[in-house]
């Protein structure tokens, strides 16, 4: 188990892998957001985009080590995002319920958005997909971090930069 931890906190020493992942990660993330934002026009959506976003952070962990990646995306922020996504999804559903429709009946959103029923449905789907994407990204990262740290309680000594 300690061997796994050592491996994860160590950076990759391959200059090719490090440089290329450094250059690729921003484009991966913008592609993921594109997949989420165009989910109602083209293949894709919240889950797929969220997985790509999570993969970009996992690539960062693999190449730059756990310490550096957690400085960008701490476990606390990750947990907050994980529940924020669920909150967005359920919030939109409950909002429709309050406005007098069924759960996730987007047509009711027209009462507050005033853009026409079709447009309200489209916006509602987009909002739900953003929620799904955020949650899926956070869940992917947290699964990976749990495997990487061997499921031990979070390595605060590494995260807080005392050792790094």
């Amino acid at each position: 188990m300690t061997g796994v931890n050592d491996m994860m906190t160590k950076q990759s020493d391959d200059v090719i892998v490090k440089t290329l992942s450094r250059l690729l990660i921003p484009f991966m993330q913008i592609y993921a957001l594109y997949v989420i934002a165009h989910g109602h026009y083209s293949p894709g959506g919240g889950f797929q985009g969220g997985v790509i976003l999570g993969a970009s952070i996992i690539l960062l962990v693999i190449t730059y080590g756990l310490d550096n990646a957690l400085r960008k995306m701490s476990e606390k922020l990750n947990t907050i995002l994980c529940s924020t996504g669920v909150f967005i999804y359920a919030g939109i559903g409950v909002l429709c319920l309050i406005l007098g429709g069924n759960f996730l009946d987007y047509a009711e959103l027209d009462q507050i958005l005033h853009v026409g029923i079709a447009q309200a449905r489209s916006l509602g789907i987009l909002g739900v997909e953003v929620g799904v994407g955020v949650t899926v990204m956070a869940a992917m990262i947290s699964i990976f971090l749990d495997i990487a740290t061997g499921g031990l309680p979070s390595k605060e000594k590494n995260i807080q930069g005392k050792r790094a």
């Binding site: 200059v15 490090k18 440089t19 250059l23 990660i25 921003p26 913008i30 934002a37 960008k72």
Partner: protein, 237 residues
């Protein structure tokens, strides 16, 4: 009697004068020290302001550059050019470039980015030509009657220094059929070459020279650099 009193008075007055002088010296010393301290504190503060300003300036430049590149990428991907999609794009690009502006431009060298991009674009056709040439060579190896295949691992020390030029050379070698970069360790390339000719082509170092030229490696004085500078000198004349 009067004389002794006079002498005593003179002595006392001298003592008082002495003490006063010492005290004034102390006061002056303290004043001087205070002034110098105040000056150094002020200088430090001014330096900090300048340094902070420079740091924020490079960060803003990085952020803007990342944002422009990502937004171009977004427009290429999106295909919907209405207000709604473009505003989502601006939002997403802002988020991503805030998160990753220190990744895309980890060690930028100011000013010469345009030249690098220009030279890199002119490098691509040459690379494609090399790929075609070695494609034909490898096809001849595979289909030809003689058995010329002689695989081996060659090592050579490179003069390239920056990460990006090392990676460009490694990927150019891998893209050319017949050669594959296995590893770069401490500036030494380990390359697998399939035949004698591909290895010799690589060891002439032409590709390395061109990449050193693109990324303007410091120890590399290249004829092309002087030629590039020639119009500037003419204009100065």
């Amino acid at each position: 009697m009067e004389v002794t009193i006079l002498v005593q008075a003179t002595d006392e007055s001298f003592e008082i004068l002495e003490k006063a002088r010492e005290r004034s010296k102390d006061v002056l010393d303290i004043a001087a020290r205070l002034t110098s301290e105040a000056q150094s504190v002020q200088r430090k503060r001014v330096e900090a302001i300048f340094k902070g300003a420079r740091q924020t300036k490079t960060e803003i430049t990085r952020f803007t550059a990342t944002f422009i590149i990502l937004f171009g990428c977004w427009l290429l991907l999106s295909g919907h050019y209405d207000l709604f999609h473009i505003s989502i794009g601006i939002l997403c690009c802002g988020l991503v470039s805030h998160a990753t502006h220190d990744l895309l431009f980890a060690n930028p060298r100011a000013g010469d980015m345009r030249v690098i991009v220009k030279r890199f674009i002119t490098y691509i056709p040459w690379l494609l030509y090399q790929i075609v040439l070695s494609n034909m060579h490898v096809a001849r190896l595979a289909l030809g009657p003689k058995n010329l295949i002689d695989p081996k691992i060659i090592e050579f020390k490179t003069k390239l220094e920056s990460d990006i030029s090392l990676v460009t050379l490694a990927n150019s070698i891998t893209l050319t059929p017949g050669t594959i970069t296995l590893d770069i360790r401490d500036g030494v390339y380990y390359v697998h070459a399939v035949s004698k000719k591909t290895a010799e082509d690589l060891l002439t170092g032409e590709m390395e020279d061109r990449i050193a030229h693109i990324f303007m490696e410091a120890d590399h004085v290249y004829v092309q650099d002087t030629l590039d500078m020639a119009p500037v000198f003419v204009a100065l004349k």
